[in-house]
């Protein structure tokens, strides 16, 4: 079954079209890079009858410093984020997603809102307590990421992710990000860790360990314990993981935990003394 394509130039136009197509039971999708929509549709995992292209909406293409924040539009391609590079942690995480040509098409918002569970672009936003802006009908709402992210972005039906606001103080904070794959430097991810040090505390967010990306305050708590050896901190950190660990063809749960242990060691090595 083919779908209809709708082009939007404004937020209100896109959200109104979504509501209309939803009413007609056309299973609409907001479409930016569209890479995941086209892939999942070909695999008969999703069945859109309408897609609404949002990548020409000016508000979704913003990349600028505004007052105390860096503002990132959801339709920016990952390549644009890498090239503009006001936020090196996000650039470095982005540059490890998919491959260079694919990143010309994959968008920041698409990666975050996607069904494919890695969603690594969310990691820097989780670490920086970002604000996210959404639109539905005629209304905009701004939320702290931790209030609208639980395993995935908690979007209301028909709601469009417009922008992320990252406080400037985080842009130059010391950070580490490491992506491990099953083999070599290309291929599907096994585990990605992103860590940042701010106000003398290390923050950590992880993708690929569980069926969703997450930031764990209990894990951070033990990593920041004074008067403990690095080995003690890492052992305690692994015990805080309360979610089921992925166990699949990319890596067994035991192997993933082993890789995480090494990644945490690397994070502490690089950030403890900063």
């Amino acid at each position: 079954m083919s779908f209809q394509y709708f082009y939007s130039q404004a937020i209100e136009e896109a959200t109104a079209r979504y509501a209309k197509e939803q009413q007609k039971q056309n299973r609409p999708f907001y479409y930016a890079g569209g890479t995941e929509i086209l892939t999942l549709r070909r695999l008969n995992i999703i069945y859109p009858k309408a897609v609404i292209d949002i990548k020409h909406i000016p508000a979704c293409n913003i990349y600028k410093l505004h007052e105390d924040y860096l503002v990132l539009g959801s339709a920016l391609s990952l390549t644009e984020i890498e090239e503009k590079n006001f936020f090196p942690l996000l650039s470095d995480v982005s540059t490890e997603i998919a491959d260079h040509t694919a990143r010309n098409k994959i968008t920041f918002g698409g990666n975050i809102c996607g069904q494919i569970f890695y969603r690594e672009a969310i990691l820097p936003l989780l670490l920086t307590d970002s604000l996210l802006v959404f639109a539905k009908d005629q209304h905009l709402r701004t939320e702290l990421i931790h209030d609208v992210f639980d395993e995935q972005l908690l979007l209301q039906e028909g709601e469009l992710f417009i922008q992320a606001f990252v406080e400037k103080k985080y842009l130059a904070a010391p950070y580490v990000t490491i992506k491990k794959r099953k083999q070599w430097t290309v291929g599907y991810p096994l585990l990605t860790i992103a860590a940042l040090k701010i106000d003398s505390r290390i923050r950590v967010a992880i993708s690929g360990l569980c069926a969703f990306p997450f930031r764990s305050t209990s894990l951070e708590e033990v990593l920041n314990q004074p008067n403990q050896t690095r080995e003690e901190k890492i052992a305690a950190a692994l015990k805080t993981i309360a979610f089921p660990i992925l166990d699949d063809v990319e890596g067994s749960s035991e192997y993933r935990l082993f890789v995480l242990q090494n990644l945490l060691d690397e994070v502490l090595e690089q950030l403890e003394e900063k």
Partner: protein, 161 residues
């Protein structure tokens, strides 16, 4: 763009020529190139954005045509392998024997050509980053890398034409 009930009339700028096609709105650029315009240089591989065999240039930027709708492509100048016409990278692929079965070659050449245009001073790291977008099952990677470096050297000396 003139909209019909299920199909759309599109004007695409391909290899410097305006081409009009009538396609369904969900048709990928790869399908339009091959089935409607008989430009079969872009190859179907994984249809999943993994292999890069379908790579074309959109305003000189590499894109995987299996992951792009034809309707999205209407705003760009599209270059396929048929439009290159003896670009230096093509000659370098021949000189360096940078292919075996040749199926992935158009995709590799388009990506490499895009790299040479965008970053004639590309570093080793940038070459690796760009070329990781394409897969060659015959594993001609070393020869492809040599071909790219040879072409980049021409661009650096201004001898690409």
């Amino acid at each position: 763009m003139k909209q019909k009930p299920n199909k759309i009339v599109l004007e695409l700028m391909i290899n410097g020529e305006k081409r009009e096609v009538v396609v369904t709105q969900d048709k990928t650029l790869l399908s339009t190139l091959r089935d409607e315009l008989y430009l079969t240089g872009a190859k179907p591989g994984c249809y999943n954005g993994d292999c890069g065999a379908c790579t074309v240039l959109m305003d000189n930027k590499p894109m995987k045509s299996c992951l792009m709708l034809s309707i999205e492509a209407a705003k760009f100048s599209i270059t396929t392998i048929e439009g290159l016409k003896d670009a230096p990278i093509q000659q370098a692929f021949i000189e360096e024997f940078a292919f075996q079965c040749g199926y992935c070659t158009p995709g590799f050449i388009m990506n490499c050509h895009g790299l040479c245009l965008a970053k004639p001073e590309a570093t080793e790291e940038e070459i690796q980053k760009w070329l990781s977008s394409n897969i060659c099952r015959c594993t001609s990677y070393e020869e492809i890398e040599k071909a790219v470096k040879k072409t980049l050297a021409l661009y650096q000396k201004g001898e690409q034409r």
